[in-house]
Symmetry: D3
């Protein structure tokens, strides 16, 4: 059986074993509906189409369903590979074992040893001098450990893989540590900044509906991860005694940490209720944005051929990006 | 002794007893500093200036200080009355009694019976069918009762008087009740809307530094009343058992109530981390804005003569407003 | 014969009697054109599609045409019901009588007693002390009475039903009267405000092409209802002698009334040539906007199931709205 | 006696005869008020300051007052000449004759033969084929002839001289005629465009308070010249029978002409209630803007030395302009 | 054989000889791809569609290909004519001769005598007093003469015909010369302005990929014609000795000329790295924009019937334009 | 003799030796001019004021002038120290030696070994595989070596010290190298990115008028450092043969490098004629902005006391920043 990653244009009669990540029903101009299906198998992801959708299709071609494709066909449209679905059979997770797979194989995973680096995190934070940053961070890591290590960082935009939330947070901490020496002249509280980097997206474990991550939860849509994350910090600070229950006045470090989370999108326009008033908030919001942009633009560039252009990217104000460099070829050349 | 409200231009040798609400130090082009002092006495407010400021002035002409003015002088500048401070003596609250006053006389108060209408509130809310809206609202009213009934709704912009926060919230509830019949055709949850109207600005009891309200607290500057208020609701919901501690999933009514608070500024640009996704959020954010605008523009219009223009109002995109109608004269005429 | 309001998904062989409100020709990707038809019958509205459009269809499936459908089919697309048109016969207004209907049955009407409330209006205005507001308003009500009572308030956005213009204006007046006591402290000329509320959209009787309201007139597209309405007031004021013909200087009340109409969209961006410079203009533009938003969002929410989301709403910056409350069920529960 | 135009920095003991165009009272940081006075004499304009203003000054140093200055002093501030007022005597218009002047000498006038070119206008318009453009334009020229030939085009921004409104309109017509051949390929109705150019700013004769032009009228502030001008056209069209009184439907040429006036600011943001929907509106709004920008930037450039920069210009998004070329020197050199 | 310009709706069995200007592959909702083909023949342009695209079509229906159509069919969609391609044969340039054509016939050409007017240009520039403007302009005209006279001014937006770049530049110079007398009062360096008008778009000869102009070059996409044009001027100035190689300081006239090119889009938002700081830059950027807008809106208006509306024009903020005047009919009428 | 860095508020009779960095003449409300003087001595910077400015002052208190102050007085205004200048004597550079100083002591210098790190740069670049990035960068470093190592990175905003341009560029390269491993998964050409980081602000050696850096040059004001820097690269590429002289087509690496410089401000709004179309441009523009923001906000925070707020910062959308952490105290505590 072939794998998604190995497919080329104009193949016929393909047999494939895949999980559906997302399914979008659209209406064609001929009065027929069709489905855009985002598929994943152990080798990676591919977008597929199911034409002439009937009621059975609507019911079974849904997120998190495993299916066994036969007679599938590939084609190329504007330089991107596309799969056309013909015959298919619906599988249970148990069925996967017959083919020698387990369900976990059908999730793309972050390319780093999450468990190992998580221990690094805890050690780093455990050494903080500031009691608030240390205790609040460790408290929340422990409380949401399972989700923090497994959730994606987003549904579409960036690090949308198992462990992506950790990967994204980890990269921010690494970037921050990497530039620390270059800014030794400045009045930056690095402990605050690292705590903020770890916690800034923790609200996503409530914002995203579940580990399958095919939609936002009601909390996600009506509150958003920024305010959800802020509430997590407030709740932890209450439990740890850093907020005066009676009048709401709180330890200044809690306030600074909340500010970091609330300001992490940098601008009101991007959903931050407050904009940066500290250097740490400037740095965190910048790296948060940069990491997401690198991930997304690289993802899109990688889908098109060398010396080609991506489609217009919504995340980049509808600008197209140019694929001018291939790290594999560059390495090989050496 | 004269009262601020009775002063006219070009009076001399005035004796006055006042409290300083705010003091702003500015630097003149002659290298001399001067102070803009916002004064209040039992009759109302007036802006004053202290020229040629010395160190003694800087130390004593500060917010919440009571002073006894003598030889003060009034003038008119661009149609607005201004007071020039000459001799003065610093008073303690005790000194006020000698003049037959008590400190409370030197705060402008909301023109409604706060205590009485507060009881109406509690009764209204007590009758809610929805358990979440009823319990969360009553819980928070009780917790912050003292501040909720006495704080202003803002430092500068609107309802900046003792009891102003209650006044503003009360007006919103009254407006909502008033239009309810006109929208009986729509799917509006009026209980949710009323709960939101009562709670939407409760974060201000933490945002504003104290009942004197001459500045924002650190929490106010770095977090803001919208997120502070949201945390109050979350905290109440936790205590009342409406949020699952483990995974953060919560009763949908809590989510809808949080949404109302978070969206109460209507637009990202005005500091709301989410924009309205429910009719109730549309109505609340509209009335919140309308009530503040009516208060502020009326306040400014009242300071200038009939058939005159206000200065440019920062809260109205620097537009000037026209004073074309006087409710007192209109009434008298009848 | 079934009614549009009673249809459910997946019905076949339907017979229906409808009027076409709007018809939009689109081009399919297979080179075939199709029509989106907005249908209405005595029970309400429904969107339909006609695939594979031929010249006969183009000529006959047009706005304000009555048709008799047979063999029509319903389906569901993204949670919304859709009708597919198969066989049909074209009817004249006379033909309707055979089926026991008259043409007026095929227009959605505002859910209020227009004639009765119109008399309230005239009485209210007739009692105005201000001669300008009284005379100008009555003059224009009389002049455009027929259209004012029958036109919709807009083609798409809000109150797009027979009598919708009156309904919208009436609701604004009712809202204004409802909050009057809450703002008794402010210098608001309620007569001016009510006159403005009645007249602010009167330009729509010229802006909209006809009572069928399927398009804008040339005047509507090139001038717009704000300027058309302003000209109506100017014209009335000229006829009533409130404007000096020679030099254009005018009674200040006329100027204030014109300002209310011109500023009724609140912002330059929304087509107002001047932005509010009076409290009355602030209130009117706020209620105008609020009433339209409540109507539109409620309309969209009502089309989707409880606990579902609307599509992205262009009138709400492409935000989706959440249907979390149903007034009928809420009432029934009690 | 010297003239304003001949003054240089650091002159003392000056005697001058001037009219005050505008007077702005400001408050100094020393608690003293001072006046910025815009002066004009037969040679031109100059900005002056009156320090330590007393009540007599406030009453007499007002717009349109003639005064006889003695002991005045000049200085230079940031490369611009400034006049300091010391002793002065108030004059009546009659007093001017003693000095050999008449009041008209104290108004800056547009540098063209207004009367002569006005005849050109009427001849040009009189030859129009389109009856609406011809009759409406001639009707309005006749009605507002006196003001049209004498008013400035604006108070501050551009062509703020006697006859400036005519000068600006005339330049637009000349520019339009000048490019006509270059766009002979396009479907442009040049008669419509010329009528629009003549009438587009006619509302300014109501917007500006009087020929002295030191403020806007109430109509100007609350309605604006765009809507005032539109009403002038509508009124003319009514009188000439081009609008159906009953239903408001009108001759399409009237609609197109109104559109030109309403869209003459080009963008909603600049106060146009509609934006261009015709080529003619594109051209007129472009030339309106261009003519004002050339006038203003040239005016500012002319105030500073060659190879110097103007202050930040509010009309140019606060950009400074560079004076790199002097037409007089360039000519002389030849 | 028919010509594109003569086609009407609903013609069948057409034989046509055309060149493909652009080909856009789109994906239909039925899983079939189709092509939008922009065709041109000696009579003009027309948009065509090829449904059910196969691999042969993809390979042969490409830009700059000549094809011989048979059995083509026309239809009308929303008031615009459309061609459906059925049978076709691919032709070489040589094949054209058999039909009595040459390849040059299949390019739309600017409607002016380019060569003749180019001589006017050189003569005009040759007479400049300013050595920098004269030499730099002549140097660059000579260097890029071939492309300057043949390239279009843009791919889509305006003057997208052979010689369009010259036509656009020529019109700007003509417009500038035409208004010169109207601004004789201003400090405008007309030589600078004319030089800027000639050179401002010269970067397009690198920005556009080739004379066929069906795409932008890599330089065009990553650098843009403004910066490319600026480099052309800098390079010329270096070669002519107007820039000091060592320190980069340069003749002020070079700087002013660069400013004109860099500021020619008028606003940062439209891609100008600097905004106008000279009157000349104000004028050039205004005329550049005006000329493009007139061309584009006239082009779109000409495609729809008299008294009809264009589709929404992206270049005009998605506003529709009204075709109310036809220069041919207007002339004929006379 | 005291140093600027050691001054405290309310000192009198001070003797100081300083250089004037900038001098700004302002007009006071009393008709007197005064000067804001930015002073620097071997210990650092301080803002001073000279009241009651006379002609001698205007002539001698100018940028780059050395002066010997006596009887100077300090005061505090809004938490910031201010110096009042009384008696002073003008010094030549020679005079400095009498006091044991040389002119170089009176320039603030970047806190790194510029010469040493410059050698690192050259070595790093010398090892590039890509010939274009290697040769162009080394060519330009050599050409502008002297200025590149000594110029500031800006006049006001950031790194406005001797060697600041190098410091800023060096920090960017260090940051880029520091995060390289964290993005090993992405298709990033690190050589291109480093070359861009080194060259992106090189245009500033022409933009800033001279090493004293008290103003922008004419080139700086009319062209800007982005376009000036782009021209430097183009010129180098021409000299190195990477651009085809005839047709302007160029080596793709040159195009990519130009793109990096042109897009380095990230947005049109900030003066970039093109916005990022490559990952490298995203990273460079982000780090450019981040480095400037850290520098400026830290600079402002350092001027106010711990737990105080800065004034509104124009570079941060007029937001105030909070000084909550002091790196020295934090270190000491340990």
């Amino acid at each position: 059986m072939k794998k998604l990653h190995d497919l080329k244009a104009n193949e016929n009669d393909l047999e494939l074993l895949v999980r559906i990540e997302r399914a979008t029903l659209l209406s064609g101009a001929n009065g027929q509906n069709y489905l855009i299906l985002n598929l994943v198998d152990p080798s990676g992801r591919l977008e597929a189409r199911r034409w002439m959708v009937n009621d059975y299709d609507k019911e079974h071609l849904v997120p998190n369903q495993y299916i066994h494709l036969t007679k599938a066909v590939t084609s190329e449209y504007r330089g991107q590979l596309q799969l056309k679905i013909n015959e298919y059979a619906v599988l249970t997770e148990n069925d996967l074992t017959k083919f020698g797979f387990k369900s976990d194989d059908f999730f793309v995973k972050a390319p780093l040893d999450v468990e190992k680096h998580y221990q690094d995190f805890k050690k780093l934070v455990g050494g903080f001098e500031n009691e608030v940053y240390r205790k609040v961070t460790l408290h929340l890591l422990k409380k949401y450990e399972k989700e923090f290590l497994r959730y994606p960082a987003a549904i579409f935009i960036h690090h949308n893989v198992h462990g992506g939330l950790f990967w994204h947070s980890y990269t921010l901490v690494k970037n921050i540590l990497a530039i620390r020496d270059n800014y030794s002249y400045a009045n930056i509280d690095w402990e605050l900044l690292i705590a903020g980097a770890i916690l800034h997206d923790l609200g996503k474990v409530v914002e995203i509906n579940n580990i399958g991550a095919n939609d936002y939860s009601l909390e996600g849509k009506l509150i958003g991860h920024i305010s959800l994350g802020n509430s997590q910090v407030v709740q932890a600070a209450h439990e740890l005694g850093f907020i005066d229950y009676e009048n709401g006045r709180q330890n200044a470090s809690v306030t600074l940490l909340e500010h970091l989370i609330l300001a992490s999108h940098g601008k009101h326009d991007f959903g931050s209720p407050v904009e940066p008033h500290t250097i740490e908030a400037v740095i965190l919001s910048t790296f948060d944005n940069l990491d997401a942009r690198i991930y997304r633009t690289n993802e899109e560039i990688s889908k098109v051929n060398l010396f080609s252009w991506t489609p217009k990217l919504p995340s980049e104000d509808n600008k197209m990006f140019y694929h001018h460099f291939d790290k594999v070829k560059a390495k090989t050349k050496k």
